[in-house]
Assembly symmetry: C2
């Protein structure tokens, strides 16, 4: 298998395909055979950047978020069909079936997740609104609002070798949804899996021309061609991260830089979780699992297992017992629990790190140099036993908090009290994730809030959630992934937060009319369009943002209030007892029920006949601003605020509703939501 | 005046106070006399960092957002009283009365703004929630939510010389509100103003020990002591920015870095805004104003004025005429419109940049070497005439888009069509702000969306908003300030966004019970506490998050529906016409009004007697999930979701309300908001 780069919508393999010509042989982690050969580079990266800017960018920005979300969904469905062949290839990286689930299924799941978030949470537009209207002037003629637009550059994704599929797709999904073309640089050791997934993406023909390209081998002088409209998202080692971050052009041009690098993640057994409790068992299970899943090659794996000093012995015994059951070997075998490291160079690296850690910790389980291997050959594969270390004095140690052995390696360490546990966890200088095992409110809350500033994610695993928990090591698309300090200070995923990394936030200022017009969301103070036709008689497609009716007034009588109270059963004293109501700090005396005002308002603006309005399905931001006293008059302004297509047959209309009294004071304001037929209903 | 550093809560002046001893003389911009002397440094910055961590951090994190907001408000009120003496000192920087308004009043206004946002938008807690609940499992036992906690380090604020007061306070306000101690490094040329403001802050005694420190002179090896829990926020030149950003420790430890640097901001006159239109006049006024306010020493000033080629001549003529009326001189005089640059070194620098720009542009107004000065001496002051340049061919030019002359200097340039104008504006490679002058929907919207990816802020100035507009050059606390690319890629202000830069976002995962407990916000699935007392009978302080009642059921009859329809006037066909309702895609036949359900729900859960509940003041996120047919039964669960103190006498209770039918299906869900007395009402 020859891994070509994909540049300017065609496959480009430079060199004649020999090692002498500068090719790299990518070897199986199981038996060392050459799975693929990769070029060291040589593709014209400047041309790739230009092509992304000139072709990919315009093609993808032309689409709305909705259309991009639909592409992601189609792509996810397409890749879903290709899973068997991807699994097969992925075994060669040393991954087991379970590991494949994280990498392949997890990657496709992220595509699905962003597809559905794009449909549900983003407008059918090429820009998104961020936050509410900001009033900027007393008279209301000058207002502000933030808008997000896709950056005009290219997203450069530099991925790690451990999750060739997930790592690519978790970066690709939000970038594509945002509207940016992508250049992917997979890590070389497992590039054949990334390449296979990428080939499927290209074959699917779903993404527009220029929207994705791939560099196999060196990125050459790619960084020299970037500017402030570009984004680099990097996952890998601190050293490489620094090279990219401090590159002269990246710094000078403020190229956006997102990094996810080393992390010495902690798992903390609570003081309450003594041996015999469910949380103790969950801790043992999770530490052993995180050590062995993906052969410990996870940036989110547990590296430091913190236990109350009094539970150190039983915890170590339980872990040793559990690790003793782990079958290491050929990941294709059902009986095998842990496969191989990505390759022999990785194994040498991990062994060197274990040696470093051994100056502060002793080996409690496993032999770094020998491993019983099932169904494969230890000589040619990259197998390594799980290694549990024990560090007796973590407060005085430094390496166990700073040296990441990127394999099935963790260090067990005792702590005195909860404050001590927090201090030790923080010694990681910033991590991607920490996990807590406790069923005690005070202990769990202290651990969470104490560790939070140093962590991008904290998971509490206890008897209530264990069954459904996705575990310590799994980043999920709705939640942010990244951590401060040593972990790189970057953030990815987290729902739309991850999409906004590829967009520019711009504060817009101007008149309500101008801002309504450009954002297609009506703001109070902008013109009210009156068509002469009741808006309930106009279909979703006919309705225009700003379309308004003003209703005639209706008087709210004391009889109405009493009648409503009896009918609904809501006899709250503010409606029924003049004396008591007067004593209330908010009311001048008896007042109408809020829901009476809401109901009368609907009575005033609803056009009852069959028509395009299908259903009232909710309201947002209702505030009762002024009481309505018996004898007061109310009237309603109803304005089309925003339109969002939902299905081919109907869409959501958000109405701006304002109920005013005889003096024109606003008594209630809210957004009403209806579903409206796209064309006229023919009932 | 000797400017001392403020380290570890005491004033520290190193050296014996002579220039020979390494002191810097700070001279008046008006007449060159020595206003103050500043030490070159020499304070123990490592100790300052340690003190911020050991004393300032704990002191400020101990407070809730509410308490910090109250401090900001008190501080703003205190500084408000000191304005006259601050104005007086500020004149020496060359600032006019109007300029003082931006710097002194603007700075204090930012404190007030963050104080009120802190009170209104943040909880009375030491952490904030970010975004909604994220469901993570089918069974609902495993959920996620994001929480923001203050970083455990120090915020280092490196300020520019042009706005010594505003620049300090706009960075200080969000950091203090977030809960971080601050070390301020003012720019030396105008440090005496920053120092005077800072001295007031110290004298006020409002902020806790260790929460603010100031370095006058060099920051020494400050950066060597920072880590991933620290933040640097920098405003100034690109060169200094790069030095800080690429410092080995900053890069290695992922110290958060926010930069605001060079910006060649554009003002664009729309194709529609021909001479004689209000927008043409507004453009002329704004360009002239931005050139002269603060003597053009504003990172947000208009540097590039783009006009349709056909209006180049009249625009130039109008600008020349307007600039001719600008009286330059002693800023203390009422008649003076423009004061001096911050000092003679700044003037030399601006003249050098004008010379550079002159290779691509000709001087249309002003003489860089000579200036008529009123009430002051051109020899000893730092006066400079406004300089208008004209560049005929901006598409082929480079310097006019890249060289920032930080003084009263702008370049006028013609463009062909709107697309051309956008392309020229983008040549700035990322700017803080652009302004648009147009009264045409299509033109204004094209300019806004075309320039948005390259700008942090865009303001449209037209006849509708001009009177209330705060203008091109004014960053406002509710809106983000910062820009991509050349402008540094940073973001400040923008309401709570600016606060969150000083906090860590952490994704929490666990059971609803655990997340409810730690966030003090009840989530569905967490335990429902039943006290045996109706929650409407318990005061704000007595109520506990999670307290719940379940009401008995009530049947909704066809009579109820018809009665409600007649009473309210809402005779929508889905409630009244079985045939038509059946044809509707959402309904099985006639259904109850949404507001009938809401009203009956209130009738079920309201406890009518006088008590702690003062008022229903709104609801959020109401969704009708399932229709209620005649004969269906509804019942309600009412749970205390969140409590927010508002006044000494009462607080806001947010209730989680769920209306279910006989089959236990949710028919409606919403958050109800009430105001509740802190103690029992004694009505």
């Amino acid at each position: 298998m020859k891994l070509a780069s994909y540049a300017r919508d065609s496959w480009t393999f430079s060199g004649n395909g020999t090692v002498a010509d500068g090719l790299i042989e990518l070897r199986s982690a199981i038996d060392g055979h050459v799975v693929a050969v990769a070029s060291r580079g040589g593709v014209d990266v400047a041309e790739m950047v230009r092509y992304a800017r000139s072709t990919g960018g315009p093609n993808i920005r032309r689409l709305t978020f909705r259309e991009r979300a639909d592409m992601l969904r189609a792509l996810a469905a397409y890749l879903n069909e290709k899973k068997p062949s991807l699994y097969d290839l992925s075994f060669e990286t040393g991954a087991t079936r379970g590991d494949n689930f994280f990498d392949i299924d997890g990657g496709i799941g992220t595509l699905f997740s962003y597809a559905s978030r794009g449909r549900r949470e983003m407008p059918d537009e090429r820009f998104a609104l961020d936050g509410p209207l900001e009033p900027l002037s007393k008279g209301g003629t000058f207002v502000g609002r933030h808008v997000m637009t896709p950056l005009y550059g290219v997203a450069v994704h530099v991925n790690a070798f451990n999750f060739p599929c997930w790592g690519m797709l978790e970066k690709l999904s939000p970038a594509i949804l945002a509207g940016m073309p992508v250049i992917v640089k997979p890590a070389t050791p497992t590039a054949y899996v990334a390449h296979a997934v990428f080939r499927c993406i290209v074959e699917s023909g779903i993404l527009p021309a220029g929207s994705v390209q791939m560099i196999v081998g060196s990125v050459g002088d790619l960084l020299d061609h970037l500017n402030g409209q570009d984004v680099i998202s990097f996952t890998g080692s601190a050293d490489t991260s620094l090279l990219l971050r401090n590159h002269a052009v990246v710094a000078q041009n403020s190229v956006r830089f997102i990094a996810e690098r080393d992390s010495l993640n902690a798992a903390v057994l609570g003081k309450d979780a003594r041996p015999g409790t469910p949380e103790f068992d969950l801790f043992i299970r999770e530490v052993a699992r995180e050590m062995t899943v993906k052969c410990g090659q996870k940036c989110t794996a547990i590296r430091r297992a913190l236990v109350p000093a009094e539970f150190l012995e039983p915890a170590e015994a339980a872990l040793v017992e559990r690790l003793g059951q782990v079958v290491v070997g050929n990941p294709r075998l059902e009986s095998v629990r842990m496969g191989a490291l990505a390759g022999q160079p990785q194994r040498s690296e991990v062994r060197a790190r274990i040696a470093e850690l051994s100056s502060e910790a002793v080996v409690a389980y496993g032999d770094p140099e020998h491993c019983t291997v099932t169904g494969a050959d230890d000589q040619h594969g990259a197998f390594l036993s799980p290694i549990l270390l024990r560090c007796e004095n973590p407060q005085n140690a430094t390496k166990v908090h700073g040296v990441e052995a990127f394999g099935p390696v963790a260090t067990l360490m005792p702590y005195e009290d909860t404050e001590d546990a927090i201090a030790i966890a923080r010694r990681g200088s910033g991590s991607l994730v920490a996990s807590v095992y406790s069923y005690d409110d005070a202990i769990a809350n202290e651990l969470i809030l104490g560790m939070a500033p140093y962590h991008g994610r904290i998971i509490v695993i206890d008897r209530d959630c264990a069954k459904e928990s996705t575990g310590h090591g799994s980043p999920l698309p709705p939640l942010v992934h990244g951590g401060p300090g040593r972990a790189g200070g970057g953030e990815e995923l987290g729902g739309l937060r991850g999409v906004f990394h590829y967009m520019q936030r711009t504060a817009l200022q101007g008149s309500p009319e101008r801002l309504s017009s450009v954002t297609r969301c009506w703001l109070k103070g902008a013109p009210e369009k009156e068509t002469g036709v009741h808006p309930f008689r106009r279909s979703f497609d006919e309705l225009e943002v700003g379309e308004t009716i003003h209703t005639p007034p209706r008087t709210v009588s004391l009889d109405d209030i009493e009648h409503f109270a009896r009918f609904t059963g809501d006899q709250f004293y503010a409606h029924m007892d003049e004396e008591a109501a007067k004593a209330n700090p908010f009311f001048p005396g008896r007042v109408a029920h809020g829901y009476l005002i809401l109901s009368f308002a609907a009575g005033l603006f609803v056009d009852p006949a069959v028509g395009p309005v299908l259903a009232n399905y909710g309201l947002d931001g209702l505030r009762f601003l002024k009481p309505v006293s018996p004898g007061d008059e109310i009237r309603v302004r109803l304005t089309v605020k925003q339109k969002t297509p939902r299905k081919p047959e109907y869409g959501e209309v958000r109405w701006d509703v304002e109920v005013t009294n005889r003096d024109g004071e606003v008594v209630a304001t809210y957004d009403l939501l209806t579903m409206n037929a796209r064309a006229h209903a023919s009932a």
